[in-house]
């Protein structure tokens, strides 16, 4: 825990994701304040959510990303994070699994469409 306190001091540019949601993140800048506010409104909260709630949610999201990253690093190819690892970790949660599949499929389609579009432009 002492390491966290030291790093939080001069850590303003680096985003150190270590630490739990109940830890005091002190001087670390808020990464997702604006986006989380819009997101909370979209999910059903008030148009102006409380700042404390947004902070709690940001800490939770950062902890989630950190946990997933650590887990993904420990399976598959060690020390690296790959898409297959994330999909494997998510397999039991139907919502997240479906969402990841959709996003990756859509990304592939968009890349293909953009490529075809560029080639058509280049040809003509």
């Amino acid at each position: 825990m002492a390491e966290e306190e030291d790093e939080a001091g001069f850590d303003e540019d680096l985003d150190d994701g270590a630490g739990g949601a109940d830890g005091n993140h002190g001087k670390r800048k808020r990464l997702f304040s604006k986006e989380l506010r819009c997101m909370m409104y979209g999910f059903g909260d008030d148009q102006n959510p409380y700042t404390e709630s947004v902070d709690i949610l940001e800490d939770l999201v950062i902890e989630f990303v950190t946990e997933m990253t650590h887990k993904a690093m420990s399976i598959g190819r060690q020390g690296r994070v790959q898409v297959e690892d994330i999909v494997f970790l998510i397999r039991k949660d139907p919502r997240k699994f479906a969402r990841v599949k959709d996003l990756l499929t859509m990304n592939e389609e968009l890349k293909r469409a953009r490529k075809a579009f560029d080639e058509a432009n280049y040809g003509s």
Binding site: E35, S53, F64, D93, L103
Partner: protein, 203 residues
């Protein structure tokens, strides 16, 4: 082999391109965020959202003819043809139902729906966060996947917190106590990953 009919419509606007490529489910507006941002400045937001929905149903029809020419269809041909047709029909029904629903939204509901679809975590920040943990670079797909499930995760917490808020007889905006109770409930359902506590078997 590019289909000239498709190319012509694609050159009209980025918006139609983005709309065409989101056929299967309606939650797939997040990836073409940049193209959405272009149209945002031109149209009023609610109208552009409605137009995207209309073009989704149009894209649904064209997709039937287009996929047979595209090389990507090799992946889809593994499924039996009947299953694919049924799936597309179900998707088209769903798209139509969504259209009817969205067209009957009030102004406030439209605002909220737009925020729901368009809000996303910044890819740069997520990428920086992951790379600071792994120490090595990660591919773009990883960032896309991670920001996508993070949004779903945030949604689960907010929805649970709204349930708690209603149950306790409070009103939105959500307070930290609602959020913490929501986290406690999700933890008991194991929907929040926690590797800090190891279960020691046969203590």
């Amino acid at each position: 082999m590019a289909d000239p009919a498709r190319i012509k419509t694609e050159s009209n606007s980025e918006n139609s391109l983005a709309a065409r490529e989101s056929p299967k489910t309606e939650d797939t507006e997040e990836v073409p965020v940049t193209s959405d941002a272009d149209t945002e400045s031109k149209d009023s937001s609610s109208q552009s959202l409605k137009r995207e929905h209309k073009q989704d149903s149009v894209a649904g029809d064209d997709e039937d003819e287009g996929t047979s020419d595209q090389p990507a269809s090799k992946k889809l041909k593994v499924e039996p043809e009947k299953k694919k047709e049924k799936r597309q029909k179900v998707d088209e029904d769903e798209i139509q139902k969504m259209q009817v629903l969205v067209s009957s939204f009030s102004e406030e509901q439209l605002n909220r729906y737009e925020m729901y679809r368009r809000s996303a975590f910044p890819k740069a920040a997520i990428k920086r966060l992951i790379q600071s943990i792994t120490g090595s670079s990660v591919s773009q797909n990883v960032v896309i996947a991670m920001s996508g499930i993070s949004k779903v995760f945030a949604g689960e917490i907010v929805e649970e917190a709204l349930d708690v808020c209603e149950k306790w007889g409070d009103t939105p905006p959500l307070q930290p106590k609602h959020m913490r109770e929501a986290v406690r409930r999700l933890k008991s359902r194991e929907q929040i990953p926690n590797t800090k506590h190891k279960n020691i078997l046969f203590h």
